[in-house]
Symmetry: C2
Subunit: 286 residues, 2 copies
DNA sequence: GGAGTCGATACCGTTGAGGTATGGACGACA
DNA sequence: TGTCGTCCATACCTCAACGGTATCGACTCC
């Protein structure tokens, strides 16, 4: 009755993303007629119309919109199952850590030291990613991640807070706002902010691929950027930083897939907590 | 490469649950040889051994254990996708509320009144269930639920707290502990506690199917039961209630599937919050 | 009105899912 | 120890359905 195969979901997602049977079929590596038939059969078995076909393209119905979102989640879950099983079966175990370069709030050395001081640890591999690190955890490409709340979408993940980071704005040294001691978000309304290529939908403004490009643009006065205060540890030439009074503070969290009962993940989370607690204590002493 | 079909996952879950190819095949409605081949092909494609076959039965490998858990989650996600899409496509909309009979902490009348006072509401259907209400939300059989934290597993769900309920123990009137003003958990160590048939694994002790049976057993002195303090609103003949000092309080929450962007769910959650806030205010006035 | 685009239909070959019959390994038991 | 029973694997067959090519029908745009 409702035994839908993942192939059918993959086909539907492809069509729903392209809104074009021919292109979707090409992307899937099959011809267009089998794709049309597969989608039609899917609609018939679900008893729901998913697409409105016109001779000039295709649109999603309300039910189709729902299925697009749900199918992506379900396909993520399936490929996560495969990946995690493969990793559990492969003899050489390692722990894949998803993080943004420099996005550790300066905690990473402490965390790794604390992790490796525990018994039975495995090598830690780094999966640097500017974009959706949360998706890497959900899909099983990474085991544990350092991310920011609420900037990252933590749904489907479990997490532990490691500390809050105030946000500062990076400005060119000659920027008018650099004359002030602090700014507020309203002051930045007219400024251009760079964005990562992985953003869900690209707005106006330049696209940058790494922190170097970002700071280059800022130093040139072509953009401003909201960054965590730990960016002050590695200041960039020609860039000055000012606190943003009303920016929501970013909470650095260690996150992992809900329901992961891996010993290694638990050890890493423990190490992260230890490292965060230690830093708080060190700062109190200083 | 990793395009695993849901059929293969269903087959694997069946075998992993039975640890017996023949019985699993019967349950799936197919013959044993195709099932053996399907599992073998699955292992081959994943590059991992999932089962240790002996001529006298079958055991899961470590990787098989991982896949069993992950596959259940993935299959839940797929059937949830189908169910939610069907409901989105069917013209007559309604909101399915999962709850335990009497498990509303006395809030339900207020919640329904608040919900129905909003514009554009749909009929509320009740899905009473003693067992895994959280699973009903995850699999799309219900849209929103009233459950208890931490007694229910809220992973994969979003939730809002509605209030805490202290826990009391229900005792026969002649029970020795009824002589005390309050008890602690250690006092209950030797007592028999009934359990619901949906429990993951049945221990010793009687099984009850509803609150009436439960209270009957308690009144007869055959068992004691930990219940929420709102049970005092409908006391049972021959049963007396005593607070449990160190029992973790149950937090009543309204929960819904993560990522549900349904307008009706949002309206219900809003109504539940309103109802909870109103009751707090009323009690403060009284 | 002709050309072009896009999805649906017709028809065909091949893959593979599922069936039956049987083999082979192993434990139980006399 | 030989026999029987259990349980999974293998061999072989059938047929549904997946995917491919060719073509149609509807609609848009010059």
């Amino acid at each position: 009755m409702d035994d839908i195969e993942t192939r059918e979901l993959r086909y539907f997602v492809a069509v729903a993303e392209d809104l074009h049977f021919g292109r979707a079929a090409a992307r899937l590596g099959i011809a267009q007629p089998p794709l049309s038939r597969a989608i039609r059969r899917l609609e018939h078995r679900m008893g729901v119309v998913l697409l409105e076909r016109t001779s000039r393209g295709t649109r999603l119905t309300a039910a189709g919109e729902v299925l697009l979102g749900e199918a992506r989640v379900a396909l993520d879950a399936v490929s996560a199952a495969v990946r995690r099983t493969r990793r559990a079966g492969s003899p050489q175990r390692s722990l894949v850590l998803a993080m943004k370069p420099g996005g550790d709030g300066g905690l990473l050395p402490r965390i790794l030291a604390a992790y490796e001081s525990q018994p039975d640890t495995v090598p830690v591999q780094f999966a640097f990613s500017l974009g959706e690190r949360a998706a890497m955890l959900r899909s099983g490409r990474a085991d544990v991640g350092l991310l920011h709340h609420p900037q990252n979408d933590l749904r489907g993940l479990a997490s532990e807070p490691l500390g809050v980071e105030r946000r500062v704005v990076a400005l060119a040294e000659g920027h008018p706002l650099a004359a002030r001691d602090s700014v507020c978000l309203a002051d930045l309304a007219g400024e251009t902010m760079p964005q990562w290529p992985e953003a869900a939908e690209l707005g106006p403004g330049p696209v940058v691929r790494d922190a170097g490009e970002l700071m280059q643009l800022v130093a040139l006065g072509r953009a401003v950027a909201l960054v965590g205060e730990t960016a002050l540890d590695r200041p960039h030439r020609g860039v000055t930083y000012r606190p943003v009074r009303d920016a929501p503070p970013a909470m650095l969290v260690v996150a992992w897939p809900e329901g992961s009962r891996s010993r290694q993940v638990a050890a890493f989370v423990r190490a992260a907590r230890t490292a965060a607690d230690d830093r708080v204590r060190d700062r109190a002493l200083a």
